[in-house]
């Protein structure tokens, strides 16, 4: 039997994440990332959920055990049309990548590209 070593990458569909309540999503993400997984969310979190994730990540940090997360999502697409400005249309959520801070490092990021390095060593 061949054993493969590496990092688990979970690509999570919008359908799966949208079934969860906000706190469930945040708890799920932290639990999975603490296991060393890299998560790619098809549609990311809303801004309040992102803030809650940062808050809960801080509570989970322990020296030499867990130093936090690396999270990258794209800036929101804003509706620049007249109607969009009047009704402040909520911009759609976009792809988000989240992983342990000691294993995922963002190399480059701009409006439409996230380039990251995943390291097997902690």
């Amino acid at each position: 039997m061949i054993y493969m070593q590496g990092i688990q990458l979970d690509l999570i569909s919008e359908a799966r994440i949208s079934q969860m309540a906000s706190m469930e999503k945040v708890r799920y993400i932290i639990d999975e990332v603490r296991k060393g997984k890299i998560l790619v969310l098809e549609k990311g979190l809303n801004p309040m959920e992102e803030a809650k994730l940062i808050e809960m990540t801080m509570s989970a940090i322990q020296p030499d055990v867990f130093s936090g997360i690396e999270m990258q999502s794209y800036p929101a697409n804003t509706d620049g049309s007249l109607l969009g400005k009047i009704f402040k249309k909520q911009s759609s959520k976009r792809l988000t990548v989240i992983g342990p801070a000691n294993q995922l490092k963002t190399l480059k990021k701009d409006r439409n590209l996230i380039s990251a390095l995943v390291s097997a060593s902690k």
Binding site: M48, E50, M58, I61, P63, K109, R111
Partner: protein
């Protein structure tokens, strides 16, 4: 945000304007070492007095680990006076590793203590988002602006329909490029400043009055 919530926020804004609510509470946010406390100190120096400061500054990240509020700062610009409460918040981050502080020369115990306090500071900064009337988001104009902290703070202000002013700080440094920040977040007003040198502060106060006055 749904229509009812948006209506409530808009109604609250109109009500506050009609009845001249005093001291809108404005949070100064940003990643560590962007210059938030330097900007806070500059505001106090310009409008309160040279002897008062919001906090100490350092090249080591997370120098500010507790939010500090200064009430009723009167700022005069273009013949109008506005009164603001300013909250200087700890730098937002998604990771805090005590080894980073050790690399700056701190001892193991000092680094772990600073790391713990820094995590508490970030939590405090996130909680303050619920109690603000607007945000000044300070970015280091020598750094890539597309950080998660910037994206999250801007997203929160947009979702809450609250005003935001972006400050492109550190324009005194040769590698500063505030145009990149404007290009990244074109939907929000941006002012280039050097809070340390006091460059661009007149434009900053004009923008402040326009956004939060």
């Amino acid at each position: 945000m749904n229509m009812i919530k948006r209506f409530k926020v808009s109604f609250s804004k109109i009500f506050n304007k009609l009845f001249k609510k005093k001291g809108a509470c404005i949070g100064i946010y940003g990643p560590p070492n962007a210059g938030k406390t330097t900007l806070s100190n500059r505001i106090l120096k310009d409008w309160v007095g040279a002897e008062e400061t919001m906090g100490s500054v350092s090249h080591i990240a997370h120098e500010t680990r507790h939010a500090k509020r200064r009430n009723a700062i009167s700022i005069e610009t273009n013949g109008h006076t506005i009164s603001l409460d300013i909250v200087d918040t700890p730098g937002l981050a998604t990771k805090i590793d005590f080894h980073d502080f050790m690399e700056q020369g701190m001892s193991d115990s000092e680094s772990k203590k600073r790391s713990k306090e820094a995590t508490e500071g970030v939590i405090e900064a996130v909680k303050w988002l619920d109690d603000l009337d607007g945000v000044i988001l300070v970015m280091d104009s020598t750094e890539n602006p597309y950080t998660q902290v910037n994206v999250t703070v801007i997203g929160n202000m947009e979702a809450r329909n609250l005003p935001l002013l972006i400050v492109a700080n550190k324009v005194d440094l040769p590698e500063a490029d505030p145009a990149v920040i404007k290009e990244a977040f074109p939907q929000h007003p941006m002012v280039p400043v050097s809070a340390l040198e006091g460059v661009g502060m007149d434009s900053f106060y004009e923008a402040l009055a326009k956004q939060f006055g």
